[in-house]
């Protein structure tokens, strides 16, 4: 840090022609050469973030709420709008904290939701279509981008993690249902099959069998949340928003914890292993 400061001088930067970028580079104290390398470093960080977090978030969502996201006939109006955002908010909230606290970048949640959606579609294409031959309609995923964008917008406007949890976190959970219903509404068209009503999603799951996925495994409106008639989804959405308030704050803090750089003093034994010290005895 001291070295960088010593090298700092207000010189013209060749990468960022806009005045704001120039000022940031200038105040940062990076030399033009260092600034160019920092841009290369940016590219490497972006590449690392996209690949690592795409895999990590996708794995996390698959492990926690996999079936709800994997199959169109699991996307019910009660549990899907509840469990999906509660799981999906975790990594975006942690990334939001890391990007905001360290770099004042209000993009963490959007980055998380974007790489998740891209990784999910890659998984659907490679695993479900090429490998096992399931039709795309059976594995249409859900997206959390609407909520993630609102979370980032809340952060940049309010610039406070607590209020971002209360407003942005709630918005993340609440808009999951309406923002996904727009995309998936055609799959809830009614059909008659063997004298009974079914949605197209039910029919897709039934027609293209998953051998070890019996119908009874689906968790469809189990419980007594029927007081609100056909408005079950909005109650679930509101409850999801409520839970997401706490999940956001929890994972914000976990993100901060995970992004800390701490150093441990090496003992003589470790130093000797690393060749820093000739031997423990010496």
């Amino acid at each position: 840090m001291a070295d960088i400061d010593a090298a700092a001088s207000p010189r013209e930067n060749t990468r960022f022609k806009d005045k704001k970028g120039e000022t940031v580079i200038s105040v940062s104290g990076l030399t033009p050469s260092a600034a160019r390398y920092s841009r290369l470093f940016d590219v490497l960080v972006v590449a690392a973030v996209v690949t690592i977090f795409a895999g990590a978030i996708h794995l996390h969502v698959m492990l926690t709420v996999g079936d709800w996201d994997m199959y169109v006939d699991w996307k019910d109006r009660q549990y899907w709008p509840l469990v999906m955002p509660v799981s999906m908010i975790m990594f975006p909230a942690a990334l939001q904290a890391i990007f905001w606290v360290n770099f004042r970048l209000p993009i963490g949640a959007t980055v998380g939701a974007t790489v998740l959606l891209i990784a999910t579609w890659i998984g659907r294409y490679a695993n479900w279509w090429i490998w096992t031959g399931f039709p795309f309609t059976e594995g249409v995923p859900s997206q959390a981008l609407a909520g993630a964008l609102l979370m980032d917008m809340t952060l940049i406007v309010l610039r406070n993690s607590l209020f971002t949890s209360i407003i942005g976190g709630f918005a993340f959970g609440f808009v999951f249902w309406p923002s996904n219903y727009s995309a998936l509404a055609p799959f809830y068209l009614p059909v008659e099959h063997q004298g009974m009503v079914a949605s197209l999603a039910d029919m897709i799951g039934y027609t293209f069998p998953r051998s070890n996925m019996p119908e009874y495994l689906r968790i469809i409106e189990r419980g007594t949340l029927r007081t609100f008639g056909s408005s079950v989804s909005w109650v679930s959405a509101a409850f999801a928003g409520f839970i997401c308030i706490f999940m956001h704050q929890l994972w914000w803090r976990l993100g901060l914890f995970a992004s800390q750089a701490t150093f441990l003093k090496n003992s003589d034994v470790v130093k000797s292993f690393m060749g820093i010290k000739s031997s423990v005895a010496s």
């Binding site: 105040v27 990076l30 972006v46 996307k75 609407a146 009614p190 099959h193 079914a198 949605s199």
Partner: protein
């Protein structure tokens, strides 16, 4: 180094070349007590074993839920009638249990009773597929019936599944319907996200921002213009979310939620208990691959009864000297599940009405090993189960359940 790389490449090529297509579903890996003491399939029939893409065929049969249901297996309180295939190589058109539609699960099937299933299936993916009927039980998993190879010919891309909705919409193919709509929305959201990310990624990013922040110049990193952009993007997102929802609700006013709930069905009428079987002793000769039963059979009916078949875990041991038993073998039944040596009996004459006779039954075949059924010797309760099929002179069939403890014998029996 080069040599090592070549060796590594050769190993990789050999591995990839050695990978073969998965042909079965692990049905032999199921423990013997699951296969011999839970669901006994019989009269299984494949209407066709060679079909074209889009061509329909039927898989029918019956099953008995064994009275001596293992304690370790959840009772059949929630049951789903299904087929097992290597992925969706077939399409499921209709399923029935005792004539009732079976798209959803059934509640509380009765032990000791018989049920009849019918599945209408359709070829989808060209190739040879091993297809089983299956009874999935909540808490226990799928219990599979006999598997048969079904050859599906034609072109995969020619498969289509048209369907008509209750709103009158004719859908050309269920595999693709609604996909463009969903992908379009996802691309729209990705476009908004990409715009927002580009707005920030175009600026000095990681190191410069961190350094500036360390110097307390946050004002250089977030400006009022950025806040304004955030408010505008928020407005766009909210319009997309709620505008899209209102539009979808208007476009699809008759949508229904996912359908669930359990159906109920009565078992098939109970057949008269004309034959009563008591197991006096049961042994499994490990080196001889032979199950030997000492049974006491009582004919409680009015017709003489001949022992025709012992079936368990989909394997059939037939009394080859009884024509009516041999005639009961469906040509579509998998031949690998029919024991070549058949069933040996100490007494082959019919058991007269009212008579109680001790009969030694011997079922010897390598199929015990091939089907991995001998591991019942390692079960905690070491019991077996099965159905004995007996025939009257008029061809009437009596199905009797039997089972009990079994003792392994590791040396040659006398």
């Amino acid at each position: 180094m080069l040599l090592k790389l070549i060796k590594f490449a050769a190993v990789c090529v050999a591995f990839i070349a050695g990978v073969s297509h998965a042909a079965a579903h692990g049905e032999r890996a199921q423990e013997p007590y699951l296969r011999t003491r839970t669901v006994q399939f019989y009269d299984v029939h494949f209407s066709k074993t060679d079909v074209k893409v889009n061509e329909r065929f039927e898989l029918t049969g019956k099953f008995r839920l064994m009275q001596d249901w293992p304690d370790a297996v959840t009772p059949p309180d929630i049951v789903f009638v299904s087929s097992i295939s290597p992925g969706p190589t077939i399409a499921r058109i209709e399923t029935y249990l005792n004539g009732e539609p079976a798209r959803q699960s059934f509640a509380r099937l009765e032990l000791g009773r018989d049920y009849e299933f019918r599945m209408v299936l359709e070829g989808r993916t060209p190739g040879s597929s091993h297809i089983h009927p299956s009874i999935s039980i909540k808490g226990s998993g799928p219990l599979v019936g006999p598997g048969q190879w079904v050859n599906i010919s034609g072109e995969a891309h020619s498969f289509a599944f048209p369907i008509k909705t209750m709103t009158g919409l004719q859908i050309e193919d269920l595999q693709t319907f609604g996909l463009v709509h969903a992908v379009g929305w996802h691309l729209a959201w990705l476009a908004v996200a990409a715009a927002w990310l580009s707005f920030w990624l175009a600026r000095p990013l990681i190191l410069p921002r961190w350094l500036v922040l360390q110097k307390g110049r946050e004002d250089l990193l977030i400006s009022l213009r950025d806040t304004g952009a955030g408010i505008i993007v928020s407005a766009i997102v909210l319009v997309m979310v709620f505008g899209g929802y209102v539009r979808a609700s208007a476009e699809y006013p008759y949508n229904v939620p996912l359908q669930s709930g359990l159906n109920r069905v009565a078992p098939l009428p109970a057949s008269p208990a004309y034959a009563e079987i008591k197991i006096i002793s049961a042994t499994y000769d490990v080196p001889g691959r032979s199950m030997r039963l000492a049974t006491q059979i009582t004919n409680k009916g009015s017709e003489p009864l001949s022992i025709g078949e012992l079936t368990t875990a989909n394997i059939r041991f037939l009394n080859q000297s009884l024509p009516v038993a041999m005639a009961n073998v469906d040509p579509s039944y998998p031949t690998d599940l029919i024991a070549r040596t058949g069933l040996k009996l100490s007494s082959d004459t019919p058991i007269n009405p009212g008579e109680t006779r001790e009969v030694r039954v011997e079922a010897t075949d390598a199929v015990w090993e091939l089907e991995r059924l001998v591991s019942f010797l390692t079960d905690v309760d070491s019991k077996f189960g099965g159905l004995l099929l007996l025939y009257a002179p008029n061809g009437e069939r009596v199905i009797a359940e039997m089972g009990g403890p079994i003792v392994p014998v590791f040396t040659e029996l006398e």
